[in-house]
Structure formats: structure tokens, C-alpha cells
């Protein structure tokens, strides 16, 4: 366990005063590894908040190069990096904020080949991926390897988030046992929506690592930013779930 340096004590001064967090919680953040996949509208802001909070290592999995259509919400992607790898843009921006951060950049999306290894390297997984294939893979590996997973989602002005703790909660396949038919790869959204749910996701990861507060276990938080309605829905494990069921 690495101790906090004088520079880190100064940097995190304001959050060290958060009750039940303190220096012990900050040291747990410093010694933790979080997998964020992908670093799009959600994952960019998750990674940025975790870098700001002092998480020691981030694994960033995201394929492809920066495109114009990334720039309304993917806040780690910049105009001057158009056409260049997204993970490089993300790494550059995160290092500007926190040069102490250890980043493992993976220029691939989560797939059958890398899912087991990348989930195995992390203490916490934040699922910010668009494709349900990737989301189900991360969920399967998180359950198999007993790793908590924060699941973030958005659509238009709607946001959803839940925290999956294997053995204690419903998993993503309990929630969505079949491949969604109506979901489409491109969907309407503002960056402020992805940023909002991403901050909630980062806070869930921080609480899990530091060990304070109550996570969204078996609870799905939903927000409609068109009306600013916020709801908490009690969700259920499915006994017949192919991933976590009996």
C-alpha cells in the first residue's frame, strides 16, 4: 500500500475532510485500479472525475480515432486530435490534470479476447460502453471474477445508473436478459446528459473504493433531465439469469 505524498495531501485537502473518507480512503483510491470502457460521453467524464479524485490507475479501453461527432460529449477528445487515436487524446488530457495518474491505454473496445484480462486487472469496472455486446461481456466477467461494476446509461435527456456487486445484487443480464431489439447504435443525447450520469458513476466508484456511503445496490437511479424527475427503482435478481443465477 503506497502512502500519500505531501503533494497529494495538498491536492486532495478538500475531499480529505469528507466524513468516513479521510486519508485512509484517499490511500485506497491511490492504490486502486478502475477499468473505464469506453471513454466516450460517459467514460470521458468518469475518467476525468476519477483522475481528479486521485484514483491511482485507470485502464482506458476505447478503439478508433477522434471524429467531429465525438466532440459534443466526449470531453477527453479535442479538436486538435481529430483523426488520431482516442485513447491518446484521453491520456493526454488526463495527464494534464493529474500527472501522477498511471494510465493503461488499450486502443480496443471490450471484446471476447480482452474482457477477462482487463476486468481481472481492475478493482472496479465502470461500464460506459454503447454496445450491449460489450456491456454483457464486462458484466459476465465482473460476476465471474467477483468485481463490482457501475453501469451507466443514457438516451436523449434520460439517464440511468446502477451498481452491480456480484453475490449481492442483480446483474446486467438480470436487468436485460435478452438482446434489446429497439436499441440503435446512434441515439440522441447532449453532452450535459452523459456528463451528469458520468459524475454519478464516478461517485459510485469512489464510494466503492474508499468504503463509505450506500451504493446503488439493487437500485436503478433514473433521471429525466427534460422534467428533472429523479426516481429510484428497486430492481430484482432473476433466479434463471444465465450469468449470476442459480
Amino acid at each position: 500500500m503506497k502512502n500519500l505524498t505531501q503533494e497529494e495531501l495538498a491536492t486532495y485537502e478538500w475531499q480529505l475532510d469528507v466524513p468516513e473518507h479521510g486519508e485512509a480512503g484517499q490511500e485506497r483510491l491511490k492504490n486502486s485500479t478502475v477499468l473505464v470502457s469506453r471513454c466516450g460521453g460517459l467514460g470521458s467524464v468518469v475518467a476525468y472525475e476519477l483522475a481528479a479524485a486521485g484514483v491511482g490507475t485507470l485502464i482506458l479501453a476505447h478503439a478508433g480515432n477522434v471524429k467531429h461527432s465525438d466532440l459534443n460529449r466526449q470531453l477527453l477528445m479535442t479538436h486538435d486530435w481529430l483523426g488520431k487515436p482516442r485513447v491518446e487524446s484521453a491520456e493526454r488530457r488526463l495527464k494534464e490534470l493529474n500527472p501522477r495518474l498511471n494510465i493503461i491505454s488499450v486502443p480496443e473496445n471490450i471484446n471476447e479476447t480482452n474482457a477477462e484480462r482487463l476486468v481481472g486487472m481492475a478493482d472496479v469496472i465502470v461500464d460506459a460502453a454503447p454496445l450491449f455486446e460489450e456491456r454483457f461481456l464486462m458484466n459476465r466477467e465482473a460476476v465471474k471474477q467477483n468485481k463490482p461494476l457501475v453501469d451507466c446509461a443514457m438516451y436523449e435527456l434520460e439517464a440511468q445508473i446502477t451498481t452491480i456487486v456480484p453475490g449481492e445484487t442483480a446483474c446486467l443480464s438480470c436487468l436485460y436478459p435478452e438482446h434489446p431489439v429497439a436499441w440503435k447504435r446512434r441515439f440522441p443525447v447532449f453532452g450535459a446528459v452523459s456528463g451528469t450520469v458520468a459524475c454519478l458513476g464516478a461517485m459510485e466508484a469512489i464510494k466503492l473504493i474508499s468504503g463509505f456511503g450506500e451504493s446503488l445496490k439493487n437500485r436503478l437511479l433514473t433521471m429525466d433531465m427534460r422534467t428533472m424527475d429523479v426516481n429510484i427503482i428497486n430492481i430484482k435478481q432473476r433466479k434463471e439469469c444465465v450469468v449470476c443465477g442459480n
Binding site: 438516451y155 431489439v181 436499441w183 428497486n234
Partner: protein, 93 residues
Amino acid sequence: MITIKLRFTAQLKDQVGLATDTVLVNETDTLQDLLSHLVEKYGNDFGTILFDENENYRHSNLIVINQIQENYEDDITLVDGMEVTLMSPISGG
């Protein structure tokens, strides 16, 4: 007759064209009756999100009643003023 408050999210909301609505049903109707009635009310495109070609419910659409997730097969007694939310799956990006 009793009144059921309806809420829709994501693609189901897009299909209905409304985030909220109300519907009158018989006091003896079940949750399954309600969903069949909604398919008649909102049309086939809405129906194909909820049910497959064999009329089996697609369980990835969440059914939430008064803030609690319920399963399509559950024996639910509909009561006047009950709020039923139908949510289609969403993701990141």
C-alpha cells in the same frame, strides 16, 4: 373501470410519442391484459418492441410499478391510480 397512469422511457417513449399517458381498464384486468391493451392502443411498432413474433414478452423491457420492478409473469392486481412505467434498455456511448 379504473385509471392507470403510464410512463414510457427511451425508444418506447419515442414510439408512443408521449412520456406519460393514462388508460382506463377493467377492475379485473391483469398486468398481461394491460400490456395487450397498450399494444392495441399504440400499434404494431410499439407491440414489436414489447413482444416477439410468438407473442412472448421481451423481458429486457423493464416493467416498473410504483417504483418496483415487476416481471411480466407476476400476478399483479391493478388498482385505480397505479403508475406503470415501461422502460426500454439504454446504454452508453
